[in-house]
Amino acid sequence: MTFNKPKIVYLGRIVLAGFSFFGDPFATSAEWTEENEIGRLCHRFMEYVEENEASAKNLFRSHISYEVWTWNEEAAAKGNFDIFVGMEVDTVEAVPYDLSVRILPPCEYAVFTLTGEEITTDWYKPMYEEWLPQSGYAEAYPYQFQYYDQRFKGMDQVAESELDVYVPVIKK
């Protein structure tokens, strides 16, 4: 699989409010559908946003959602991943007790744009094992996030969708 060359962008601190899942996300369904734990997590989060419409309007900057995958030793050992789904907020202080907060530090990112069926392929491997080693950059932090804006139409319309993947990088 070959990607278009990623853009390198600098982003300031990002404060997200949402829900986390830790565990094997495919324990209930191995398919790339909305039935697995990630789908359930997104669904729970969207439901929360709808149920708390009035306060959510003030809390969140936009409807663009972030899916943050964090690499940890439990993932390698047992397939337990840490996945956070949320949207951007202006101030941490305004986040209510029932949402979790994730703060992404200011850093440079390599941004890969995935188009159509690419979204459901194993894009992680070529990014980290092929692009990164020859890029002149190293991984800055053990996480990456997927940025879901209006270009992403849903897992049932993958062919018409686009998705950006942000990999935190630092010049070698």
Binding site: S20, N72, K78, Y97, S100, V101, I103, P105
Partner: protein, 286 residues
């Protein structure tokens, strides 16, 4: 048999009798007889071991079962009231509102069954817990807002992810440079309305001073400022929490300010300690 064991055995007989008679026309003296005690001695012992008067216990059990039937069946409210030995619609409604905060009609439409609060049958395990001397009277403490950093997950009922959350946090803890000292480990459970079906949000965490330096692989949470009821316990968790919600909170006239249950464990990692470690349970109340 020690006097305590004797009393416990007798009270368990009375509890069985009450359970079998929720829809029967019984008096407290009948329950005393089931325990083979005089009414006076029975009431004294019941209070001491169960922390409810026998009558309060009987009423709470009846109303809990009535509330369940209101949800599960389409029986007329008055029929349910009569089944559980309330003589009039009015006495039923008044008692019902006192324990659920709602009228039966409203409960049927909008009430959410939540087993944290539904007054469960007391068993030997409860009596041993209450009388083991391992639960303190709560202190009411005003607390400022706190910032926690850790690992969080939606947990489906029956999932066994809690231990891996703690293992993960233990590994990451070396990189938490702004933890409040001495380190205290927190478990925070958030109960959404539909938690019995969809699960709770669990967080394994430590308290940190600021959010500025939170390690990007950790999740943060803000615990709201306010009044917390703080219980010190050592021993098994479920009967402790049933006591906290169904006995202490129910009788205190207070209610949870937020559906949060916070456990503070000092520096003993819970995945490698026995369940007898001392810990504090904090419930935000109003």
């Amino acid at each position: 048999m020690s006097p305590d064991a004797h009393a416990m055995t007798a009270l368990l007989k009375a509890l069985d009798f009450i359970e079998d008679s929720l829809t029967e026309d019984i008096k407290i003296s009948d329950a005393a007889e089931a325990a083979s005690y005089s009414l006076y001695h029975f009431c004294r012992l019941f209070n001491r071991y169960v922390h409810h008067t026998p009558y309060d216990y009987l009423m709470r059990r009846r109303l809990t079962e009535a509330a369940r039937e209101l949800k599960k069946t389409s029986k007329q409210i008055i029929d349910i009231a009569f089944d559980y030995q309330f003589n009039t619609h009015e006495t039923f409604c008044r008692a019902f509102k006192r324990v659920t905060g709602m009228q039966p009609q409203e409960w049927r439409k909008k009430g959410i069954e939540d087993r944290r609060f539904a007054f469960s049958r007391r068993t030997k395990q409860h009596l041993q817990f209450i009388n083991g001397g391992i639960l303190s009277k709560p202190e009411l403490i005003e607390h400022r807002a706190r910032i926690l950093a850790g690992i969080s997950s939606l947990i489906q009922p029956g999932a066994d992810t809690v231990r891996s959350l703690w293992r993960m946090l233990e590994r990451e803890s070396a990189f938490i440079h702004n933890a409040v000292q001495p380190i205290s480990l927190y478990s925070v459970k958030t109960y959404p309305d539909n938690w019995e079906q969809d699960g709770i949000i669990y967080m394994a965490a430590v308290e940190v001073k600021t959010l500025d330096e939170v390690n990007p692989v950790l999740t943060a949470k803000l615990l709201p400022a306010g009044t917390y009821a703080v219980f010190s316990i050592a021993g098994p968790y479920p009967p402790a929490m049933e006591y906290v919600y169904q006995t202490w909170l129910a009788k205190s006239g207070r209610r949870p300010a937020y559906p949060l249950e916070i456990e503070v464990m000092g520096k003993d990692w819970p995945h490698t300690s026995s369940e007898d470690i001392k810990r504090k349970i904090l419930i935000p109340i109003v």
